[in-house]
Each structure stands twice: as C-alpha cells, then as structure tokens.
C-alpha cells in the first residue's frame, strides 16, 4: 500500500540498472540527502557537529569499510582500530608535509596508503579462515598501535607522542583546527561519506561485489565456478582498508583534532566497529549507517535524557547507560538476528502488504 514496486515500469536498461531502481527508495534517498545538504548546514552548531553528526559520519564510514570485508566478503577482521590509526597517521604526515594540499586529496591519499597496508595484512587470509583470520588481524591491530608509539618519525618527534592537526583548508575554508566552522567540517565529512557510500553500493551490486559474496558463501564453490580467491579477498581487504583509512583520517583531523595511538585507536575501536556492523546488519550498506547511528547516537541520547532532563548524577547515569546499551543490543539481536537492516526490510514488507496481510 505505502511501499510498492508495482507500476514502476522501466523502458531502458539504464533505468532498470540504476542505483535505486524502485521509485520510493529513490525519493527517500533524495529526501534524506536534501535535508542533509540543504537544511542541516544552516542549523548546525558546535555541539551537534562535535558530539552527534561528525562522529556519526566518521563511524559510518568505518562501518561501511568493515561491512565490505566482513559483511560482503566474509573475512572477520579485528584490525579496524589499527587501520584507522594508519589512516590518521598518514593523514597527519601528509598534512604536515604538504600544507597547501586540498584536504579531500589528503584524506583520499591517506585511504590509499591504508589500502596498501590492508593488502599486506590481508595476505594471510589466503591461507587461514574464520577465527584464525580474526586472530591474525588482531595482530595487525596491536602491531600498528605499537608501531605508532614506538617510531617517533610518525609523530614528528613531539614530546608527548601526540599528533595534532594543524589548520588546513578546502578552497580557503578551514576544515581542520579549532577555527573551522561547524558547517564546513560537517559538509566535508558528508560529501566524502555520500560519495563513497554510493561507490560502495554500486561496487557491491556489480561484479566485484558478487565475487566477494561468492567467496563469503562458499569459497571452494566460488573457486570452482571461476572466482579467483586471491583477487576477491585482497580486493576486499584493500577497499575495506581504504574506507577505514579515510574514516581514521577524518576521525583524527576533522573530529578530534589530536590523537594518541593507544587511546584513540585501541582494540575497543575495532570491537565498536564490529558491533556496528553486526547490529546494523552484515552485508548491507544501509545497515552500516543504522549500526553507526545506534552505537554512536544512542549513548549521547541516553546521557542527555538522564543527566540533562532527569537531572541524575553523572556517574549513576554513566553506569545505567552501560546497562541499557548492553540490554538494547541483546534485545535487538534477539528480536532480529540479522540486524537493523533486516528490521527495515521486514517493515518494508509489512508496508507493502498493508492493510491486507494475507
């Protein structure tokens, strides 16, 4: 009734193969993008930028990356934090070495550098699978964080081992540093996330994505029908790391402004992104966004309700927040083991049949 595919006739191959073939989906996406690009930049303030929107976009990018590797290609990775660190340090070195460079280019180059590191750490995936691969990527996590602590060249020999983002611009508008206006940092992250979410969506619909999914569903069968495992697995590692590297670069340069490896890129970040992907829905672009929103926005919301509205002590609120989020994750996963994305699919199905469910 409300959501229907019927009556949406296609007269050319191009319109049949467009990114969102169903009219309602298309309208929905255009609507969200219109609000994100045309409304939010005019009403955004420091708090919404630094506490809600920029972190959401940064983590959505990381979740997209991990979803490509884990959700689409079936390779479990616990190295997300480490790869984000590679992106952040690459971004820092590029920012310091080439002050004139456009920040978009810096972030994308940081992503490319991370992609190469990702390929190197993806090599074991050709021999080991499942939990064993998870342990190998765990090694990447610890090795990379250790490396950025150990080698002073990465943090330009600063006394405290911290890296801090100097002010850098895009078309003469500051997007990093304390004087960057909220709308600029928000739009910067939004553009990157939208462009690369579009790329990811199409990658996963195309030949590359199909070969990843073939490997995920059964690698031996995939090999027999002619999917090269080497290419599929390494491309998944490369593209996933590319996304995660960009997210790490934005995390450091746009969101935090300064970072130290042990705290900002610890193992808990790897788990956070993995939870986003699992809660959001493995193998779903929408799921990456929903998962990031769930893991990043719910804690902020709960805190604001408990401390701001109800006036509870901050420590009590913090403890109850832990309990509630844990409970919410369990409730969601019991209600829908395939994540929030599946919940959305079921809702669509209901809307399609309403008001005659049979």
């Amino acid at each position: 009734m409300f959501y229907r595919e019927a009556g949406d006739f296609k007269t050319s191959y191009a319109s049949d193969q467009q990114t969102f073939p169903i009219k309602l989906d298309r309208y929905f996406v255009w609507g969200v993008l219109a609000i994100a690009f045309l409304v939010i930049p005019f009403v955004i303030n420091d708090y919404w930028e630094k506490s809600v929107l920029v972190p959401f976009l940064v983590w959505a990018m990381a979740a997209l990356g991990l979803n490509i590797l884990t959700g689409y290609c079936g390779q479990v990775s616990l190295g997300t934090g480490g790869f984000m660190a590679v992106g952040a340090y690459a971004c820092y070195k590029l920012m310091v070495a080439f002050p004139e460079m456009n920040m978009f280019l810096v972030v994308i180059l940081a992503g490319l550098i991370t992609a190469m590191v990702g390929i190197a750490f993806g090599l074991p995936s050709l021999r080991i699978k499942g939990f064993y691969l998870a342990v190998a990527t765990l090694a990447a996590q610890f090795f990379l964080v250790w490396l950025f602590n150990k080698v002073p060249w990465f943090y330009n020999y600063s006394a405290s081992g911290q890296i801090s983002a100097p002010e850098r611009t895009v078309f003469d508008i500051a997007v990093t540093g304390p004087n960057a206006p909220p709308w600029a940092t928000y739009l910067f992250c939004l553009i990157l996330v939208v462009v690369f979410a579009y790329v990811a969506r199409n990658l996963t619909r195309g030949r590359t994505g199909r070969s990843w999914m073939a490997i995920r569903d059964m690698d031996i069968a995939a090999e027999i029908i002619g999917v090269p495992p080497l290419q599929a697995k390494l491309s998944a590692f490369a593209i996933s790391s590319f996304y995660i590297g960009m997210s790490g670069a934005m995390f450091f340069a746009i969101y935090l402004g300064s970072a130290e490896p042990t705290e900002a890129f610890g193992i808990d970040k790897s788990f956070l992104v993995l939870f986003m992907v699992i809660v959001g829905g493995l193998g779903s672009i929408l799921g990456s966004f929903l998962g990031a929103a769930f893991m990043i926005l719910i804690p902020v919301l709960l805190k604001n309700i408990m401390v701001g509205v109800l006036g509870w002590p901050a420590d009590l609120a913090a403890h109850i927040e832990f309990l509630l989020i844990g409970a919410l994750i369990m409730i969601f996963l019991i209600a829908e083991p395939h994540g929030l994305a599946q919940l959305w699919r079921v809702t669509k199905e209901k809307l399609r049949l309403w008001p005659f469910p049979h």
Binding site: A159, G161, L310, G311
Partner: protein, 432 residues
C-alpha cells in the same frame, strides 16, 4: 490517554529539572569528572573535593562575591572523545574555566578552548609548555608541571644518594600516553647533567598487566624506580613492586601516583613508598571543620562523603580554591560580580595567593605561594616528597617544598612552546 498523561508529566518534570539549577546559579564551573572506569577511584576523590569546596562557598559565604556557584558535572571516563562531548555540551552555559583532570583531554581542549576564549586550568598536568603564557594565552598549569615534578624527584634521589647520581640506574615506569611520556625529555636532559642511566618501561592503558615490566626491573636491578601512573596502574605497580621485593623507599611516584587508593591494596608492604606533591597532606586544617559543618553534616557532600582529607580530595579542593580565588580576583579587577570567561582568564593571570591569604582560607601552610603573571602561567613549581606510613595509614611530608632545576626546564619549555607556536602560527604576546 493514560500514556499521554504520563508523558506530559515526565516532560514537565524534565523541564523543571533542567530549568531549576540554571535559575539559581550565575558562576558556572563545569566539572569534567570521571567516576567510572579504571581511573574512576582516583577521579571520584578529586571530583568530590572540587564539588565540596564550591558547596562550602555557597553554604558558608553565599557563593563567590555574593554570586552562587554551579558545578554541572559531566562524566568523561578519562576518555578524550567523551571529554570533547562534555566540553561542547557545557561550554554554552557560561562556563568560566575547565579543569578536565586528564592530560589527553587537555591536549584536545587547548586549541578549542583558546578559540572559544575559555581558560583551562590543568593543575599539575596537561601540556607542560603551557607554562609559557606568551604562547598559551588561555592555558594555565600553576602551581607546578610534570617537568618540575621530574626534576624535584631527581633532586630528592640525588639527596638520598649523598648528592651524587653518577652511574646510578633509574627506571621510569610510565602510562603509555601523552601523560606518561611528558617527563621523558626532561629526565633525559637531567640524565646528561647528573650522569645517571635512564631506562624506560611503558605500560599500556589501563595498566592491569605489568608482569613483564616488573620482571625487567627485577633483572635490571635499578637503583631507583620512578612512576608516572594513574588509576588502577598505580595499585598494580605498587603491588608488583612488593612482589619482587623492590625497596619501597627507592620507588617514587609523580603526584598522580601518590594517593591512598594506590598504596592501600598492597597493605603493609607498601610502607615507605614515596611520591612528590605540591600541597599539604591530611585533614589537619581549619577548612575541614567548615566542610564538616556546612557540607557533610548538612548532607550536601558530593559522592558518598567518605573521601574528605585524602590526597586527591585535598587536591580537588585546592583546584576549586584556586578557581574561586581567581574568580574573586576577576570580580575585583573588572568591578563586576557576574564575570565572563574572558574576565576569569584575567583573574587567573593576576592570581596572587600568599601565606596570609592561605591562612585566611583555612589552609595555613597548605601550599607554596602562587604568583601568576602574563608570561608565567606555570607558577612556582615547588614540590615536596611525601612518604606512606602503612601502620598509621597516612602520608607524611618528609621534605620541605623545594624548587625544580630551572636552568634545565626553562629552555625546554621555551623550545616546546616555540614549536607549538610555529605549528599553529601563534604570535607571541607582549607581556612587558
């Protein structure tokens, strides 16, 4: 219908709850505290002291200069991202000064708060070179910084080895973060000057696992061990030190590694452990009688009220006292009761606390005199050594307050702040 009524009631209650405190208070001192996580036990004591002192001012004196004080609290869990969120959520309420009690959060806030014009007081932590007020206009770290602490510890070690550290082995056990790495450069410089041999042992967050570090210490047999730890790391390190029977009087912590929380778990074996401090210990000061009367007995104590007189409680109270004095100075300077963050900054820059003022505040001899100036945001940089008496379960000062090695530290501060100024294109202020 019923559901709607409940929702309406909830919303009204919420609006009342949010609007009520705002109407009362005019001077806002946000507390970015932490009472949860591996650093919670230490953060709680500091936060209780900070909150109790302002409650005392509100109850006893009616606030600062007749204006009530509010301390909205925000839990950071010692996590920099939550710290940023807390900063953004509280800065709009007229925040006068931030004291995040975390070096990581301080590093994060230095550029942001400077751009927003809100001062930061990182008392004995944060970025050491912020002592150079010419470069860091909005950041203060009086009355002492990490490099002072490192130098005072080395001086003490030199005193106990009859003035000669040549050829001695000193090991630094440190929290592997910006905080723990701060003293390294100074210790290296001092090693050149005094001729001791420095080895470094990092401990990763949160610091519950230190077996390998202490095994290393047992093998190396250093003459002295120094510690830059925080939270659960301190307790574990002191217990591990007792396990390998390292002599406690040769084990010295920075001022963040010298609270009751840190030594109690090791029991009697921790007897003799030392730490540097920049203020007095114990609850033998007149101000505590007032706190008992106006805060504790009135049932207004922060937390469970059990921490009064502990090292970190005293430090939180001292931090609040310095903030209140700076606010009072600002009120006098600008001849207004309701000061802004910019005026608060002026008050901090002109803060003077002498022995007479300390006595009037009910803290005679609690800490050295403070004279902040435009160029010097670092204060006197004096410290004393305190030692743990496990029998009596109390800390005792075993030395006088002494100064640090300025001829080593001042050039380091100048160098590091110049690097920061160059990186961020900051012009030095004229302070003459």
């Amino acid at each position: 219908m019923k559901f709607k009524a409940i929702t309406a009631a909830l919303v009204t209650a919420g609006v009342l709850a949010t609007s009520a405190p705002a109407a009362l208070a005019d001077l806002v001192f946000p507390m970015l505290s932490y009472r949860t996580g591996p650093y919670g036990p230490n953060g709680t004591e500091f936060a209780d002291g900070y909150a109790d002192y302002f409650t005392l001012l509100n109850e006893r004196d009616g606030g600062i200069g007749g204006v009530k004080v509010a301390t909205p609290e925000c839990e950071t869990a010692y996590n920099t991202q939550k710290g940023v969120e807390c900063y953004e959520s509280t800065k709009g309420d007229g925040a006068l000064v931030y004291q995040p009690l975390s070096t990581g959060i301080t590093y994060q806030l230095i550029p942001k708060a400077t751009a927003d014009g809100i001062p930061i007081h990182s008392m004995g932590y944060g970025r050491t070179s912020a002592a150079n007020g010419k470069v860091f206009s909005h950041v203060f770290n009086y009355p002492g910084n990490y490099w002072d602490a490192a130098s005072i510890i080395v001086k003490h070690l030199s005193d106990v080895s009859d003035g000669d550290l040549k050829g001695k082995k000193i090991t630094l056990v440190y929290h592997n973060s910006a905080y723990g790495k701060e003293p390294i450069r100074t210790l290296e410089e001092l090693a050149k000057k005094h001729g001791y041999e420095l080895s470094l042992l990092p401990v990763d967050h949160p610091g519950q696992e230190q077996k390998s570090q202490w095994l290393q210490i047992r093998r190396d047999r250093p003459d002295f061990v120094m510690m830059w730890g925080w939270g659960v790391m301190n307790q574990v390190a002191i217990k591990e030190a007792t396990n390998i029977r390292f002599p406690m009087d040769k084990f010295v912590g920075v001022w963040w590694s010298g609270s009751e929380n840190d030594v109690m778990p090791a029991g009697d074996a921790a007897n003799g452990y030392k730490a540097v401090t920049f203020h007095g210990v114990g609850d033998d000061y007149p101000v505590f009688a007032d706190i008992k009367k106006h805060v504790q007995d009135a049932g207004k104590a922060a937390g469970d009220g059990s921490n009064v007189g502990s090292v970190l409680y005293n430090r939180g109270m001292y931090a609040a006292m310095l903030a209140a004095e700076a606010a009072a100075t600002a009120q006098k300077m600008h001849d207004t009761q309701e000061i802004t963050a910019a005026q608060m900054r002026d008050g901090m820059e002109n803060l003077k606390i002498d022995a007479a003022r300390l006595e009037a505040l009910g803290l005679p001899g609690f800490a050295p005199e403070i004279n902040v100036s435009c160029a010097d945001h670092g204060g006197p940089g004096l410290g004393a050594i305190q030692q743990w008496d496990a029998k009596a379960k109390e800390w005792k000062l075993i030395t006088e307050f002494t100064g640090s090695d300025r001829e080593v530290i001042d050039p380091l501060i100048a160098e590091d702040s110049a690097a920061f100024a160059a990186e961020n294109k900051i012009e030095e202020r004229d302070c003459s």
